[in-house]
């Protein structure tokens, strides 16, 4: 045992392998963090566009957040898909809706006072799957779900 510990043959290869493995892991995590940050920026930009769209045109569909959600869907979905890191199959309008769009409108807002009380916000939640490398005792990695969210506040544009 003592002889084996003292044997230095191949130690450089072992050291190099360890360093390369750690380096690759750091590089992978760096790229993944960069991707999440890029997606966060895209979600924010899409939410901003949707807020602007509702602020300008919202009253055309009535003061109904449900109708607004339907109207902003293509804007948000296309905006998110402009980022190559957002997988096209992750955007779905079906049963497992992704992203989810939540719109809040001041409950006292009505057709008469919307110029003053037309405050609203839009929140977009995008679920994104991130692959985590395997730990030493595992054989496969695990998928981690990250929720990328953005909320923008707006006010309905008052028409002359």
């Amino acid at each position: 045992m003592v002889k084996w510990i003292k044997d230095k043959k191949g130690s450089i290869a072992v050291q190099a392998l360890l360093i390369i493995a750690i380096f690759l892991l750091i590089a992978y995590l760096g790229v993944e963090i960069w991707k999440v940050v890029a997606i966060q920026r895209t979600v924010r930009a899409a939410t901003y566009q949707a807020t602007k769209y509702i602020a300008l045109n919202g009253p055309y569909w009535g003061l109904d957040p449900g109708a607004w959600e339907q109207a902003v869907w293509p804007l948000i979905a296309n905006g998110l898909l402009s980022n190559p890191f957002v997988p096209a199959d992750s955007i779905s309008r079906g049963q497992s809706r992704n992203p989810t769009i939540t719109i809040w409108l001041d409950p006292v807002c009505n057709a008469v006072n919307y110029c003053e009380r037309g405050q609203f916000w839009i929140q977009v939640d995008l679920k994104y799957r991130l692959w985590m490398p395997p730990r030493i005792e595992d054989s496969d990695g695990t998928w981690m779900q990250v929720n990328v969210a953005s909320r923008e506040y707006g006010k309905l544009q008052c028409f002359p």
Binding site: S11, I12, Q15, A16, I19, I20, A46, Q49, K52, Y53, L56, N57, Y60, W61, A67, Q70, A71, P74, L75, N78, G79, L81, S82, P84, Q157, C158, F159, P160
Partner: protein
């Protein structure tokens, strides 16, 4: 002299470090040169993104309806030409591309359903209500997609990685504003000078 050379040959001190260095050096050099190439591509991609954003914003705000029919006679394709020019100028401001005539740039436009359209600026704001009524197809939403093919092949240490095509996409909507149709022109000031305080008799 010969003895000194023999001693140097037999001396094993530092051999581990030298071997380790020799193993790591090529990887380090590839990463270094690769990062130069990557920085260049990211910089060009950022310029393309900025240009596409400006083009989408231009088409969102300055569309056919905003051209005053009495002052400006819009011609079909004028807006898309201006949008293309905005992207081109943004690319030319990037030092990696300045003055390179071989850059190939193509711009395409899509509606909310992803179908290719001629120009998003053709929508007349007087038809806005009917465009908004179609929530599913949403006539106001458009996407600008710019594709740039670089005039050189990306390479690391002389190894070619092939032709690079960068794509940038921006989604926006035609902003008709609350003043549809065109607002009345701002009254021009009369010939009478405006009285200034303190100069009156």
């Amino acid at each position: 002299m010969l003895r000194r050379l023999q001693a140097l040959r037999k001396d094993n001190r530092g051999s581990y470090e030298l071997l380790q260095f020799a193993l790591i050096l090529p990887i380090f050099v590839v990463i270094l040169y690769g990062s130069f190439e990557l920085t260049k591509l990211i910089s060009i991609r950022q310029s393309l993104d900025a240009g596409t954003y400006q083009a989408a914003r231009y088409l969102s705000v300055y569309h056919t309806s905003y051209a005053h029919p009495e002052r400006v006679k819009p011609r079909p394709g004028d807006d898309t030409l201006r949008a293309l020019r905005l992207i081109w100028e943004s690319l030319q401001a990037n030092s990696y591309l300045t003055g390179d005539p071989a850059v190939r740039l193509s711009v395409r436009y899509f509606n909310a359903l992803g179908q290719e359209i001629r120009s998003p600026a053709d929508l007349n704001c007087s038809d806005m209500e009917s465009a908004l009524a179609r929530q599913e197809t949403n006539g106001l939403i458009f996407t600008v997609r710019a594709e740039l093919t670089l005039p050189w092949r990306a390479s690391v240490l002389g190894i070619s990685l092939g032709t690079v095509t960068l794509t940038s996409t921006q989604t926006s909507f035609v902003d008709c504003g609350p003043w549809v149709p065109w607002p009345p022109p701002t009254p021009t000031p009369g010939l009478e000078p405006t009285p200034t305080p303190g100069t009156g008799g």
